[in-house]
Amino acid sequence: MQTQRRRFLRRAGTFAFTILAGALPYSLARFMAPVRRIDPTQQLALPGALPDWRAFRAACIGCGMCGEVCPPRCIQFHRNDGGLAVNTPFINPQVKACTLCGKCMEVCPTDALTVTPREKVNMGVAQIDRAGCYPWIDQGICGACVSACPLGTKAIRFEMWNQYRPVVERGCVGCGVCVEVCPHPSLPIRIANRGQGAIVQHPV
């Protein structure tokens, strides 16, 4: 009895040690890896999503199919975070922006995403901080946002009197490609709610 117990304890000890020794490097690597915090204010709803985020949360079943068909792989999921919105998708244009291809709306089995023509999509509106954008402060020429916009001049164009100053138009649906390509480190262009307007209002 005594020897059996001792043998069992030794086996259990070896077992536990093996598991721990295997898990240790992995967990250390995970622990020390730099964490890039996602800016929660820059989490966009998917194109064609229900406008009310509560309704969207209730309708989404978290199957992940929208992410699985997304060609630019811009759709991310609340994996650990998000509370009740866990496993629901979002887009962070600072990481990767939507190209308005419409595959996610087509594949969604629920009413969370409805098929919407790209001009009618409402993810927000691009907002330009004229105190940060290179051409607006006469620090050079750029035009990255204008040339990358999937909707063309209906959404963003150059200002009439200066060939490189971008101006957001009414057609902007807030896909965020301009945010993705913006070369300025402080990202003077961002996606805001439609009511907030296309020009940053500075408190100062």
């Binding site: 309704a55 992940g64 199919m65």
Partner: protein, 341 residues
């Protein structure tokens, strides 16, 4: 003379191998499909030349695998998408009935196109019972391997849990889960349903940046099975299993025992993952038609019949020593069942 073989001694016993094949196939698809997705996005972006050499090898392998079936990877690989929770198979969208129930409870409305996606699974469940659990569920593969692990651990003298709880507990879990869905306005049953968790987390692991919190929950269920009750989660706690059990209560295709050929060896009872009692014809709504008992039966006494109820207990098998001792004189009634020699 041959034994009376009205329904038994057919090919049913090979179904268990087919079942393992389906289980492995479904699980493999859950891993392969995200890789296909990552690959097809690279094809769509013409980014193959930008890949690192190691990644390029992986994509060469994927390309070789898919080349016979696919002309344009960026589009053709869309035909099979998703997982067992909700997916698209050659243009047909199908969803788990629990997904529909949870979504209806959370949104408190009915969205008909989504309701339709559960039509095929529901009809199949009405006919074949809880077959999803035994034949398709990706978690079931791991849980059954976990059962083998507990046998292995038992050989090394490690104690594993053998508690028995009430199978009706899972109906409470289902009811409370749907209630919580309704109160919170979020499809939270998806977070405690292992096949949904596995499909999602495998996708996250391959195509997103690592697994989420659901993986921890799944590991907890595996430990529960190992340390508390054999296949405890499926039998006592799984909300989806509860829904499938309810739908499959009057399933048309049932495993039944041919009492004439049964020899009461009890192998069916010990092999049953769900702790049912095939030896005494007690299958009930918990049975998932997994055919493990059919495969293990040495005399082919178990097989499928088209009936909507189980036969009431037919008593001891006519080939059992006890029955033969008791009925020595009346044996001829059952034909030539005893003329083995």
């Amino acid at each position: 003379m041959t034994r009376q073989t009205i329904d038994s001694a057919s090919g049913w016993r090979h179904l268990n191998k087919v079942r393992w094949l389906t289980l492995v196939l479904v699980f493999a698809l859950l891993i392969i499909l995200p890789f296909f997705h990552v690959y097809q996005t690279y094809v769509a972006a013409h980014a193959y030349d930008l890949l690192a050499p190691g990644e390029r090898k992986l994509y060469d392998i994927i390309e070789t695998l898919t080349a016979p079936f696919v002309d344009d990877p960026s589009r053709d690989l869309d035909v099979i998408k998703g997982n067992t929770w909700s997916g698209r198979l050659f243009g047909v969208k199908m969803s788990d009935p629990l997904a529909v129930a949870g979504q209806m409870a959370a949104g408190r409305n009915v969205y008909n196109p989504f309701l339709l996606t559960a039509l095929f699974p529901v009809v199949a469940t009405l006919i074949f019972g809880r077959f999803f659990c035994g034949w398709l569920c990706p978690a079931n593969l791991l849980y059954e391997l976990n059962t083998n692990l507990r046998i292995l651990l038992g050989r090394f003298g490690v104690r594993t849990g053998r508690r028995c709880l009430d199978p009706k507990l899972k109906y409470i879990v289902l009811g409370v889960g749907l209630l919580i869905c309704g109160i919170s306005g979020s499809v939270l049953v998806a977070a405690v349903y292992p096949p949904a968790i596995l499909g999602r987390e495998l996708y996250y692991a391959v195509a997103q940046r690592g697994m989420g919190g659901g993986a921890l929950f799944f590991v907890a269920t595996v430990l529960f099975d190992l340390l508390v009750a054999r296949r405890g989660f499926c039998r006592y706690l799984c909300p989806g299993g509860a829904l499938y059990s309810l739908l499959g209560r009057f399933r048309v295709l049932r495993i039944q025992r041919n009492v004439v050929t049964c020899n009461d060896c009890t192998k069916c009872n010990s092999v049953c993952e769900f702790g049912l009692n095939p030896l005494r014809d007690d299958f009930g709504q918990e049975c998932n038609n997994c055919t493990a008992c059919i495969a293990v039966c040495p005399v082919d006494a178990l097989g499928f019949r088209w009936r909507i109820t189980d036969t009431p207990n037919q008593g001891p098998g006519h080939e059992s020593p006890r029955y033969r001792r008791d009925h020595k004189d009346k044996r001829q009634v059952f034909g030539n069942a005893n003329s083995k020699a």
